[in-house]
Symmetry: C2
Subunit: 214 residues, 2 copies
DNA sequence: GTTAGCATGTAAGGAGTTACATGATTTT
DNA sequence: AAAATCATGTAACTCCTTACATGCTAAC
């Protein structure tokens, strides 16, 4: 129970890497990461934080208020909890952020992965960008094929929708291509912020190990 | 239990409006409607169909095979089930397809709503298109504001992501505007296929009634 | 005769959301 | 002193996916 999604876990770890934070602020920051009006709910975040505490990825740094034991009020500790990364948490972040398999470029997680690109090696960035681009191109080919096969049977609205979908996809492919090209040309350092990666991944021919599993 | 999502229900009703079908084919057609490599699972469709049968929106037209009662095999009816719309189902489709509230232009349902535009009145189409456009413009304004507020604190990758998001959004706004303009100018009939709408909605100043609830 | 596609379903579980419940602190 | 926003959590529910389980039928 309370199993966390990989994207949320990565977002929490990445944001806490910058600075310790309350759950409340974490929610706002993750919401900002998701963008597009999507908001992260407390009902999703707090159980996730609890689980990460249990797993030893985070630790608390709390000012407890020692609530009064009154009638009806179960006396106990309740206060503002500041979450920090543990050593395990940092390691986990390094692992997640350098994973470059399919789940890194799916629609659901790509945004969050991209938000932490500055914490990855250039090879990882390239693999994610290229993975997403080829996935996108497959889809576009699929839509084009369907369209060519059944253009006559579709009404004007459906046709418009497909056409717009195609255009949007092509636009994103162009964007990805620009990013890929500038990654390949740039003289930028492959590590932009202080994260030691799990070192296994490199430019070798068979990038099999880090691909699945995250 | 087995409560169905409105989008799936609309898709099923809309497709069965064209012709009776097996669940199997329905799945392929709905999958085609969703596009973008998203597929509808049987685990989602079949329970939905069962529920719609119970609600009297559909009826079966089945060739039962009268499975043999053998060892281990519970004898019973199992066959190919062709689903048809009932009168209630047609009515429900007319209601759903003419609803023009927020849930018609959310990301999740807009695609399916658009796919059945030909079955709606022009007023409904305009309200959905305009609703989606203004929702999109709000979002874009939000992103622009965030960007203006915190451009310095963001790394190059996050900036790129926001910029691309903005461009995509603006592209969709232009698309919607073109559609809205041609709806307003066109001499096309406001009803394109044989669906009698629930008639309540019109061009009056307070379109309050049909807005929520679907 | 065997692969591929047609055809129907269920059980378990994942990844969230909404609504509820509570109270402290800061701003107006 | 009221309102907003900070702050933490839980319970119920939603809607979907994956994996399982079964068998028919057409094509090669």
């Amino acid at each position: 129970m309370a199993k966390r999604g990989a994207a949320l876990e990565l977002a929490v770890l990445g944001l806490l890497h910058e600075a310790p934070m309350h759950g409340y602020e974490l929610r706002k920051r993750v919401t900002g990461l998701l963008g597009w009006g999507r908001v992260l709910s407390y009902g999703s975040l707090y159980p996730c934080l609890k689980q990460m505490l249990r797993d030893g990825l985070l630790c608390e740094d709390t000012t407890y208020l020692d609530l009064p034991v009154g009638p009806g009020a179960r006396g106990g500790r309740r206060g503002k909890i500041v979450y920090k990364l543990t050593a395990d948490g940092k390691e986990r972040f390094a692992t997640l952020v350098s994973a470059a398999g399919p789940s890194a470029w799916e629609d659901d997680s790509f945004g969050v992965r991209f938000a932490f690109f500055a914490a990855t090696s250039r090879e990882t960035r390239l693999r994610i960008l290229e993975g997403r681009r080829s996935r996108l191109e497959e889809r576009l080919e699929g839509v084009r094929a369907t369209l060519a096969r059944s253009r006559e049977r579709l009404d004007a609205y459906t046709l418009e929708l497909q056409r717009h979908g195609l255009e949007s996809g092509e636009h994103e492919v162009r964007w990805l291509t620009e990013l890929i090209d500038s990654e390949r040309v740039d003289r930028a350092p492959s590590r932009t912020i202080d994260v030691q990666e799990t070192s296994t991944s490199s430019t070798d021919g068979q990038p099999s190990s880090a691909d699945n599993r995250e």
